[in-house]
């Protein structure tokens, strides 16, 4: 692989890992709010979370550009007050990947949470645990395999994210050129098929490794919990 390709690989890993790590807690909070709460506007939040699933990634990228660009309401604020800008940067690539992965992760996390017997949390609460404590000490660890699988799903989706990324942060080698962007680039060139194949193989291997890792640890955790 060429140095540029290696760079894309490394960048992809960084983007996907960062996006997953940042999204997981957000997904957890959202999943909780959606699974447990009963409040007005819940349906709206749910819809908002799911938008990236329903809309073409390019639209999401465009919306991010509108929102987080220097002229965008959020972007301007962040730029002026925190000096943070997203467009053309690693940060933006992470944001795009995170937004696209969010609905998948929220869904996985929510299912994992709902699969845990609420009776156990009740038991914990009668033993002196607050709602939060009971959640953290009982439900969360029991949902761990599901969370893990949600995280891997998010990681995988982040690895593959293309449309939102290129629209939001374009293709800046070393900053925003992740594997999919490199693949796309190679694929669109008349003589890029060899490079594209190489990069696709690389992506596939990466994803397989993530899945295998997830399965292995899922099995370990599940065995440890006595689930089949």
């Amino acid at each position: 692989m060429t140095p540029l390709e290696l760079q894309a690989l490394w960048l992809s890993l960084q983007v996907a890992a960062t996006a997953t790590a940042l999204t997981l807690p957000v997904a957890l909070l959202l999943a909780l709010a959606l699974a447990r709460g009963r409040w007005p506007g819940k349906a709206l939040l749910e819809a908002a979370v799911n938008l990236p699933l329903v809309l073409p990634p390019v639209v999401i990228g465009y919306a991010l550009l509108l929102g987080f660009g220097r002229q965008g309401p959020l972007g301007r604020w962040l730029h002026e007050w925190l000096g943070v800008s997203f467009v053309f940067s690693f940060r933006g690539a992470v944001l795009a990947a995170a937004v696209m992965a969010l609905p998948l992760m929220v869904r996985a996390v929510r299912q994992a949470l709902e699969a845990v017997d609420r009776g156990l949390e009740d038991a914990a609460r009668t033993l002196g645990a607050s709602r939060l404590d009971a959640f953290a000490s009982v439900t969360l660890p029991l949902a761990a395999p599901g969370l893990l699988s949600g995280a891997v799903l998010g990681f995988a989706a982040s690895l593959g994210e293309f449309g939102a990324t290129i629209t939001f942060v374009s293709n800046v080698p070393g900053q925003t050129q992740t594997l999919p962007l490199a693949i796309y680039s190679a694929l669109q060139s008349a003589d890029g098929e060899a490079a594209a194949l190489r990069l696709v193989a690389c992506s596939v291997l990466l994803a397989l490794a993530a899945l295998a890792l997830a399965q292995w640890s899922h099995r370990r955790v599940a065995g440890w919990l006595g689930q089949r």
Partner: protein, 376 residues
């Protein structure tokens, strides 16, 4: 500390409306048919089900009050709960399960130590296991230990022994029976098993169709054979109140004075003069016209109060042992209607009731006497 549960809880189409006072000492048994609402009430007390209206309070401090909007979180109530289905935490080993509540209880609160509970419930070989490696019975023992270690202000148990084998059940019954004296907190005990009620309960609340159908000191309620259909014919019996006369250490027996008469029972750990409680099932009591020489060494003279012949071939005969026929001095006998005729049993008739020493369950009752008299 005394636990008051006075609530109305909606449940499906129906609901449960009941007021239960769980006195600060001793065990209050909550009995009733399956579906009567026992578990529902218990969950409402623990804060796991929100009553529509009513009040839950311990020692005067309100845990729930629909009127004032008070609704303490279950964790803040500090009521130990043992669930029907164990509810152990699958991801923690037995030791960690046991310590879950202990770690969250105020350090100052009183309660048994880990070692004590482990020894008592025979949990030592299980400590490093996970719940899925336990059989049903083992699981329930751990659940019981876990609740005890949480240093609760009151204990709520929902058929905790339902899945234990008889010897282990006996063991646990012994421990449970000793709890009130050790812990000095209200205990609400839901069960289907009359032997558990007999053995453990100081007060009994009978729930039927979501209402309290009967309630009172175990002494009276368990002796009320008219409740037979609800509690089961063969489990019904009497509770006699007496005081230790003599300890026959060699024989592991104790003699007890009841209504001026002497009764021999398997050893009760209490000093001479101490108040004790004797439970005798009606089916274990035989009637005769006079005192006879038999291994049925307990033969108490009395006067027939009433004869109930509800369902052939059975007849329930109530005797007053003392002149007043006070609660604690009345004895039920379950005999055949033919015997009633053969022996000419009739109200006013003097009669001798005989039962074997081994048929009696005795227990020290000193602590609770005042409580009961004040609450009844």
């Amino acid at each position: 500390m005394s636990l008051l549960i006075d609530v109305s809880v909606a449940r499906g189409d129906t609901g449960v409306t009941a007021r239960i006072d769980v006195p600060p000492q001793g065990i209050t048994a909550l009995i009733g048919r399956s579906g009567a609402g026992k578990s529902t009430l218990l969950q409402a007390a623990a804060g796991l089900l929100r009553p529509v209206t009513g009040r839950v309070a311990i020692d005067g401090s309100t845990l729930f009050d629909a009127a004032s909007g008070t609704d303490l979180a279950p964790g803040a109530r500090r009521l130990g709960v043992v669930f029907q289905d164990g509810r152990l935490f699958p991801h923690r080993d037995v030791r960690a399960n046991l310590l879950y509540g202990a770690k969250r209880a105020p350090a100052s609160a009183a309660g048994p130590a880990l070692d004590e509970v482990v020894a008592l419930l025979g949990l030592a070989p299980l400590l490093a296991r996970r719940p899925h490696q336990l059989s049903g019975g083992e699981r329930q023992r751990v659940a019981l230990g876990r609740a005890l270690l949480g240093k609760p202000r009151a204990l709520l148990m929902d058929e905790p022994l339902a899945s234990l084998d008889p010897p282990r059940r006996q063991e646990l019954l012994g421990y449970l029976a000793a709890l009130p004296a050790r812990l000095n907190l209200p205990i609400l005990y839901v069960t289907h098993q009359m032997d558990e009620v007999m053995r453990l309960a100081d007060r009994v609340v009978l729930l039927a169709d979501g209402r309290v159908a009967a309630e009172g000191p175990a002494l009276e309620l368990l002796s009320d054979l008219t409740l037979g259909p609800l509690v089961g014919r063969f489990e019904a019996g009497s509770v006699l109140a007496g005081s230790v006369a003599e300890q026959l250490g060699d024989w592991q027996l104790t003699t007890v004075m009841v209504a001026g008469q002497r009764v021999t029972v398997p050893q009760v750990a209490a000093a001479p003069g101490a108040a004790v409680r004797l439970r005798i099932r009606a089916r274990d009591v035989a009637l005769q016209r006079e005192v006879l020489a038999s291994s049925a060494s307990n033969q108490l003279a009395g006067t027939v109060l009433r004869v109930i012949e509800r369902e052939a071939p059975y007849a329930a005969v109530e005797l007053a042992l003392g002149p007043g026929g006070a609660p604690g001095e009345r004895l039920w006998a379950l005999v055949t209607q033919r015997s009633v005729q053969a022996l000419a049993v009739a109200p006013g008739q003097p009669m001798v009731a005989s039962f074997k020493a081994v048929a009696v369950e005795g227990r020290a009752a000193a602590v609770h006497t005042e409580t009961e008299s004040s609450s009844s």
